[in-house]
């Protein structure tokens, strides 16, 4: 256990040491007590920003750490959302059924990712063709769900409703005597916050473990990794499944958050958003991805609320500037610059303590 915990800091993640973790704890604690001080609207909003984090972290893992460009995150997002919708509408909020629906909504994307990943990685589909296959799958899902408007597209009592999507799913409910605990408002906020912390710390451990180091090795040179005896395809499959389940988690939480899901949440524009967040923050680091996702969803919402239509233009422009001038990502670039400068200063002020290894 302790050995695992030491892996939260390592070569594959930025940010370590006492100061970083103190700040981390302060932010999490501050967020946790926030519902006592601010109004419900802000809490709902903050929940919304955090809902997207899982999908972005999943993409960071797949694209940034393993070097596989997947455009399919929103397909798993949508699959999970629709699964929760169908099961939730059929079984209602009695007993533990909503948790069952949540579980199945994560299992289905995992299974789809397993099939698609096996098809791709064991079938020799590489590089840019992975992007094409995943994008095609996303578009198939969107197109298929968009044509389910007719009454014949009904699963149990749940109508799929074509382009308008599904709505009125029950929130997560935990039976608790006479007054069941409904995860809505602050409880839902705490649940999502806890999940973000759990997934973030878990991913830090994962990418700094042997698994993560091998992933980075595969990203840098798949052939070399294979020559060294690693089963490249198995690692790629595993990381694809993990990333897709995370996208699914975002999908379920999004469906729970707004109690609706539509085909356009999978379409081309929707599929571009995770790419933008991850690329803008820095795809090779999960902390940068997390910060960028929260910041950019906040920014697009601010721009949309102000009533102008410039949100997508700004997103596009940010993406373009980052790709051109800071290909490692904005947050990562700034972070590294600051760290280098601090190191330089340390070297400059204390030259006698610096020793170079000989030989």
């Amino acid at each position: 256990m302790r050995r695992w915990l030491t892996l939260v800091d390592g070569p594959q993640t930025l940010g370590h040491g006492v100061a970083f973790w103190l700040a981390f704890c302060a932010i999490v604690l501050g967020a946790a007590v926030l519902p006592a001080f601010v109004d419900a609207f802000l809490i709902t909003n903050l929940t919304y920003f955090m809902v997207w984090v899982f999908m972005a972290l999943g993409l960071s893992l797949i694209w940034g750490y393993a070097g596989i460009l997947s455009f399919g995150q929103t397909a798993f997002f949508g699959l999970a959302g629709y699964t929760y919708g169908v099961i939730g509408l059929n079984l209602g909020d009695a007993g533990l059924w909503t948790w069952f629906a949540l579980l199945i909504s994560l299992v289905l994307p995992a299974m789809l990712a397993l099939v698609v990943g096996y098809f791709m990685f064991y079938g020799g589909v590489r590089d840019v063709f992975v992007g094409i296959v995943t994008l095609s799958i996303t578009l198939v899902f969107e197109t298929f769900m968009a044509q389910t408007a007719g009454p014949e597209w009904t699963i149990g009592t749940a109508r799929l409703n074509g382009f308008n999507g599904m709505s009125n799913m029950p929130p997560l409910t935990f039976p608790w005597g006479d007054s069941p605990l409904v995860f809505d408002g602050p409880p839902f906020f705490w649940l999502v916050l806890a999940l973000v912390v759990l997934v973030y710390v878990g991913l830090r451990i994962l990418v700094n473990s042997r698994f993560g180091n091998v992933l980075v090795g595969i990203r840098e040179n798949p052939d070399r990794a294979e020559m060294l005896g690693y089963n490249v395809r198995l690692y790629q499959l595993a990381v694809f499944v993990i990333g897709s389940v995370l996208a699914g988690m975002s999908g379920v939480l999004y469906t729970l958050w707004g109690s609706y899901i539509t085909p356009s949440s999978m379409g081309l524009t929707a599929a571009a958003l995770p790419i933008i967040w991850v690329a803008a923050g820095g795809r090779k680091d999960i902390t940068a991805t997390l910060l960028a996702t929260v910041f950019l969803t906040w920014l697009s919402q601010q721009l949309a609320v102000k009533g102008n239509q410039y949100a997508l233009i700004w997103m596009g422009a940010i993406l373009l500037v980052v790709v051109m001038f800071a290909p490692e990502g904005l947050f990562v670039t700034v972070w590294q610059k600051l760290r280098d400068r601090r190191r330089m200063r340390r070297v400059a002020t204390a030259p006698e303590t610096v020793s170079f290894p000989s030989g």
């Binding site: 590089d127 840019v128 239509q309 373009l320 790709v323």
Partner: protein
């Protein structure tokens, strides 16, 4: 007689679909084949061509010249973007995809802000002809011919001109081509411009048959993608067969199950083709003949 009419109706749909896929795919395929850049803003070049055509035709320019304007406008935009952005990303495949995607978002939303959700369309020229119970548009019946003519013109361009020789040499081995005096960076720039202009021409040709909306690029890019992936990198060899096969699949499915199922059929075909023939039809043909 009824059977013949039915057969012609199917053939008409097939040819229409074929023309659409060829015209959509051309610009994307040329850029992809030459420099391996997947231009996700391809649909927006098509939109640009359509908008300029519609606007200039409504300003009183005769339709063929309006179409020329649309083509040139898209080509010009391509030339500028190549110089400012694409040129810096040639060795970074993923980044070039992401950057063109960003351009696509900016262009779509920008056009929405500038020109509104849709603009008044043009009348389709030449009217229509009747056959049995059906009525066919003359203009749409002409498009397959235009598509074939374009393929012929490109064949001439790549096989018979100096530009063609230089560009084929650049595809084969850019360093060697440079050593032998081909100006590869100019060829890249010319190719990107040509691809953008062809996309503009597609938009211009379809402008009289559709309502131009800012998001129209998305409808075009999926079809373009599908055609190019199935075709593979060699445009001259793969594009026409790929469009023919896909048009057949699409017409069949559309006829029996509706347009959206036809679309899904295309996408599923691509997934299978990527798995079975990762280099597309042209890669497969070249391999069979002991080529590259």
């Amino acid at each position: 007689m009824t059977f013949l009419v039915e057969a012609y109706a199917f053939f008409y749909q097939l040819a229409d679909s074929f023309a659409f896929l060829v015209l959509c795919g051309l610009g994307l395929a040329i850029i992809f084949g030459m420099m391996g850049v997947i231009n996700l803003a391809h649909g927006e070049f098509i939109m640009c061509g359509a908008y300029v055509t519609v606007l200039s035709a409504r300003a009183g320019v005769p339709l063929p010249f309006a179409m020329l304007c649309g083509t040139l406008a898209a080509g010009l935009v391509g030339l500028i973007l190549e110089f400012l952005i694409i040129r810096r990303l040639y060795h970074r495949l993923f980044d070039s995809i992401v950057a063109t995607w960003a351009l696509s978002l900016i262009a779509t939303q920008g056009m929405l802000i500038v020109a509104g959700p849709s603009i008044e369309g043009l009348k389709t020229p030449f009217g229509s002809f009747e056959l049995g119970a059906y009525s066919f548009s003359v203009y749409r019946a002409l498009l397959p011919l235009i598509a074939l003519l374009l393929l012929g013109a490109l064949y001439w361009l790549f096989m018979r001109t100096r530009f063609g020789i230089h560009s084929r040499a650049t595809i084969q081995d850019p360093n060697m081509a440079r050593a032998l005096g081909a100006n590869t960076s100019r060829i890249y720039s010319q190719t990107f411009t040509l691809g953008a202009a062809l996309a503009g021409l597609t938009g211009a040709l379809y402008a009289p048959t559709i309502t131009a909306v800012p998001t129209m690029g998305q409808a075009f890019i999926v079809q373009s993608f599908v055609t190019v992936v199935v075709s593979g990198a060699d445009v001259m060899l793969g594009l026409a067969p790929s469009a023919a096969v896909l048009a057949f699949i699409q017409s069949l499915l559309t006829r029996s199950y509706g347009q959206l199922i036809g679309q899904i059929g295309l996408l599923l075909t691509v997934i299978v083709v990527v798995r079975v023939l990762p280099k597309g039809i042209s890669g497969w043909a070249l391999q069979r003949n002991g080529g590259r």
